[in-house]
Structure formats: C-alpha cells, structure tokens
C-alpha cells in the first residue's frame, strides 16, 4: 500500500470539498455523481494505478484511465490536480471562459491527464478497449481502467463494446460501473431498468466482482483484486455500489443533485461535513 486507508479517506474528503466548491463557484456542473465517485478516483490515482504526472498522450508503460460518464468532471479534475497533473489553483477556472477545465473533459484544451473527450455518453468503453488492444500490440503489460455510469448503460454502444471485449480476450481492461441507481429523470429502476447487471455482464463473458464504492477499504481491495485477475483471458468488471452525493448528507441518495449547484448556504453546510485535509485551492 502506498497510503493507509485513513490517508486515502482524508484525500477523498479534500476531493469532495473541491467538488462542491468548484460547482458552487460556477453555479453549474454535476456534484452528485462526482461525490459518489470521490473514493473510487482517490483509490485509483493515489493507490492503484501506476501512472506518471509527467503526462504523455500515449502513456506507454503506464496504466491508463478513461472516464466515460464525462459529466462527473469535477471529481476527475480534482483528483488530477491533487495528484500533480496541474496546479490546484486551476480548479477555480472550472466551466469558465478560456479554461482548460471544460464542463466535460476534453483533450482539446491540452489539460494533462485527459486522453479523450467524453460527455456524450456511451463511448468510453470502446475507447478503453482500443487503448487496451494497443497496449497488447505494443507488448505493454499495463492495465487500462474505465469508469461508466450505470444510467449510461442504456446507450447501445456500450453493449457492442461489452460483447467485443470478451470475444477478443481484452483481459488488460478493468471497467467499473458507478452503480448508484440514479439518473437525471429519476431512479434507473423507473426510467429504464438495468435489471441484473452482474448476470448480464457474466453472460457476455466478463469476470464480475462487486465492491462498495463509498467504502475506501472495499474499493481499494476490489481494485487490487481486479488487477490480479488481469491477463487471464477475460475483461474484468467492478460492479461498484455508490450513493449519488456521498459525503454530503442533503445530497445523498437522490437524483435531484445530479446536475444542480449548491447555493451559498448549502455550500457552507456541505463544507462543514467535509474536513479540509489538504489545503483548499
């Protein structure tokens, strides 16, 4: 372990502060899913992935991460900055004119750490598969990670990719699902039910593991375990239960905070629940 679980939890707390402050500052963006994935991103970038903040697009010899549900950009930006890809002061520019921190992640403005634009849903899994297959061709034994939203699985392209990866033994790929059961118009159960995701992925030929995405110990163990499953002929799916808005009581467990910014009072309430463990940007 590079960090103790407590240290990782402290980083995640700061990441959550960044998220609510960023979204509050521009009065737009998506706090709910960002907060729900703060622990996952922290575990990935501070503990699990072998990566360099000296950014190169091809990332040869490094583990790569792709964010498919690009609207949770605040958590991505915070973790990239906190791990050293760019200065944390730049987080203050989120969603503002001339910023590299666009509403949804993009390579277009040259922000280190971003390798593909995402936002229009359903495309990240395919991109991650391509990157994983390039690694195989390059005899690069690193791992490719991708995060997808659960509601995003309603996009058909995902299922093309989900079918393709096992057939082609893309076993250097670890996909995680942000399984919070919420989407813009309400619970996924009501909007368009995902039914039994584990059974669906297994039927397509994936090795599925489960984790609690808001329990640092669980998520770290799951990602380390997933890594041991690579190279065995199957892509790996980490079905990760999360709560939208995790860490801020009034945002938790509801789709209502998917894409709404807190006001001044709500920001103060949220920050009071999130200890500042590193310096605020």
């Amino acid at each position: 372990m590079k960090h103790t679980i407590n240290e990782l939890e402290d980083i995640a707390s700061q990441v959550r502060r960044d998220i609510v402050r960023m979204v509050h500052a521009c009065q737009s963006g998506h706090p709910g899913g960002s907060l729900g994935c703060a622990d996952f991103f922290t575990a990935l970038y501070f503990e699990v992935m072998n990566h360099s903040t000296d950014f190169t697009m091809d990332g040869k010899g490094e583990d790569l991460f792709f964010l498919s549900n690009g609207h949770i950009s605040p958590v991505f930006y915070s973790v990239l900055a906190r791990s050293g890809y760019f200065d944390i002061s730049e987080l203050a520019t989120f969603r503002k004119l001339n910023s590299r921190l666009q509403g949804h992640p993009t390579t277009h403005e040259g922000l280190p750490g971003i390798r593909i634009a995402s936002g229009s849903l359903g495309q990240g899994m395919s991109v991650a598969i391509g990157a994983a297959q390039a690694k195989k061709l390059n005899k690069d034994h690193s791992t490719v990670y991708v995060l997808l939203g659960d509601g995003e699985l309603q996009e058909g392209q995902n299922w093309e990719a989900i079918m393709y990866a096992p057939h082609n033994k893309v076993d250097n790929l670890i996909a995680s699902i942000d399984y919070n059961g919420q989407q813009i118009d309400g619970p996924t159960e009501k909007v368009l039910s995902l039914e039994n995701l584990q059974a669906k992925f297994e039927a397509f030929g994936w090795h599925v593991i489960n984790s609690d995405g808001n329990d640092m110990d669980s998520i770290v163990k799951a990602l380390h375990y997933a890594k041991t499953l690579t190279g065995k002929g199957k892509p790996i799916l980490n079905l990760m239960s999360t709560q939208m808005g995790a860490g801020v009581d009034f945002m938790m467990g509801s789709h209502k905070w998917h894409g709404v910014a807190p006001n001044d009072e709500q920001l103060a309430t949220a920050l009071a629940q999130l200890p500042s463990t590193l310096k605020d940007y």
């Binding site: 390798r115 061709l137 079918m163």
Partner: protein, 319 residues
C-alpha cells in the same frame, strides 16, 4: 483538350485495399478495423500480411470508431473500413466526440459512397457524407477519382497526422491517373487547362468531366478541368486562379448539392470572387435501386449534364 485514355477499369475500393497494404508495409503502426465488410473493403491482402494488426469488430460501427480512437492513444494509426453510410451518418457523434474533438489520428475509410453503390438502394447510398464530414473542425475530407489516385491517397493519409475521411466507391471505372503519382493532400490536380469555363470535379465525376471536356472541345468550348480530390482543406488558390481566367464554374460531385464540394466552392467564390456557378449534383434527393449507370443518368450525373451546365453557365457569365 488533353487526351486521356485507359486500358483497364478498376474499382476505387481496390485502390484502397492496395494502398492499405502498402501503408501497412511502410509503417508498423498502421492497423485496420472492419465492421463485417472485409471483402467489400478489399482488406484481405492487409489481413493476410498483418493478421495481428487487423481488428474484426463485427456489425458494430460505433464501437469500431471508439476502438479506433483508443488505438491511437497507443500510437497506432487506425484505418476503419465500412460503407460510407455506416462510416458517417450512423456514427456521427462517435466521430465528432471521440475522433474529431479529441484530435485522434483515425482514418475513416468509406466505400460504396453515393449512387454508384447501385442495386442496394437508398438505405445504403449516402449522398450527405461529404457535408457531414467537412463540417467537423479539423477533419480532412478526400474523395479520389480512380484506382491509382485512391491507392496514392491511402498511402498519403497514413503519413498525415489527424483525422481523415477517405471516400471511395464500388463500381469499376476507368483507370486514367498516373500509377506512380505523389498524392498531395489539399492540392488540386490540373486535368486540362482551358479558358472558357472551369469544371471542378471530384471522385467518380472526374472521368465524366473528361468525357464532357472532349465533347465541349468539339463544340469549340475550351474547358479547364480541375480535380479536387481534397474537399477539405480546399485548394482555394487553384480554384480562384482558374475562375479568374474563365469567369464561370461548374462543380461536379456524386453527392447532394447541399453540403458538398459545390457549396465549398460557392462559399469561397462568394467572398473572394463572385462568379456564376452551376451544380452537377444530386438535387436534394435520396437514391434508389438500379445499376450505377442507370442511376447516374436518372439523377443527372452524366457527362451530358456537365456539358449542359457548362453551356448554361457560360451564357450566364456573358450577360
């Protein structure tokens, strides 16, 4: 009129297949992807030579574009292959976000473009693809005119960094360009110098423009014929230089008159050198089943249509 002859007819998609093999030999980073149309795209030779560098995607074009974008991140130069309709309209958002906006070095190679796909009918005959692709910032759009030019273009785009849309067709047509030509992206080819009218043609319409030029010469009209194989970026200098001389222009393309080469030329001329122009293109219509020749006649894409357009535009220019 300069004399053009041919000894054989070949399909431009075979030019693509030959070019892909050669590009693959030149650069080990070149890889190919196909959505269940290997035979139609003439990818067999590449697959035989480089089986480990070929990805059979199945009938899943959106996934193909995404995988291609991902492959570039590891330094690969992916060539995707399927019909033009499934290469563009079907996957527009995937190309827009994962390729063009992300500045990925993907070569989108599209066969069976336009009416000359023939009997399969309008579901497969895309006439909007040039427009769709040229509207994407940073996208290079190329529509070569015969086997040799398609082969040369395929080799050239592997050496060009950035997303490219390469459009070619199904039927056999005359092979009349130099087999050893150097293909320069964005550089027009002067097919015939003339003084009375500029005929600008792309793709399958270039040979028809040559046929028209010969007939026009018999009528005493000296046509300048320019092959624009790269629709974007357009060789503006070549177009302006010619039109300054002739004072009128006919554009010819196997595409809807909306959004194609003709509109690119019109946009240029309207700001730089307003000039009478006629469009030989499909008149905002879908295609239908039929042989390629029948369809080109029915939809007004024959050499006679170019001749009539030239006569008309010359008259307009004289007014």
């Amino acid at each position: 009129m300069k004399k053009y002859t041919y000894t054989e007819k070949k399909d431009t998609r075979s030019g693509f297949g030959a070019g892909l093999l050669e590009a693959g030999k030149k650069n080990p980073e070149v890889v190919a992807l196909c959505a269940d149309l290997v035979g139609s795209l003439k990818m067999d030779a590449f697959i035989k030579e480089f089986p480990e560098r070929f990805f059979q995607i199945g009938i899943a074009e959106a996934n193909m574009i995404g995988i291609a974008a991902g492959l570039t991140i590891g330094g690969k130069i992916p060539f995707t292959g399927t019909f033009a309709n499934f290469s563009t309209g079907r996957v527009y958002d995937q190309i827009r976000q994962s390729v063009a906006y992300s500045d990925k070095n993907v070569k989108i190679c599209a066969s069976h473009a336009g009416l000359t796909l023939g009997e399969d009918g309008a579901t497969h005959q895309i006439l909007e693809d040039i427009g769709l692709m040229k509207m994407l910032p940073g996208m290079t759009v190329i529509n070569p005119c015969d086997y040799n030019q398609t082969k040369a273009a395929t080799i050239a785009i592997a050496e060009h960094h950035g997303p490219v849309y390469l459009r070619f067709g199904r039927p056999v047509i005359p092979v009349f360009t130099d087999p050893d030509q150097k293909f320069e992206i964005g550089k027009a080819w002067m097919v015939n110098e003339g003084t009375d009218v500029t005929i600008i043609a792309t793709g399958h319409m270039v040979w028809k423009a040559i046929e028209a030029g010969e007939k026009l010469a018999e009528m005493g009209i000296d046509a300048e014929i320019i092959n624009i194989h790269t629709i974007k970026p357009l060789d503006e200098e070549a177009v302006l230089k010619s039109v300054k001389k002739t004072g009128c222009v006919v554009t010819c393309e196997e595409h809807n008159k909306f959004g194609g080469l003709g509109e690119s030329v019109a946009r240029l001329l309207s700001t730089e050198l307003p000039t009478p122009q006629e469009f030989v293109a499909v008149n905002d219509s879908f295609g239908e089943s039929g042989t390629p020749d029948q369809l080109m006649t029915k939809y007004g894409l024959d050499s006679i249509n170019i001749i009539e357009a030239a006569q008309k535009v010359i008259k307009r220019a004289k007014k």
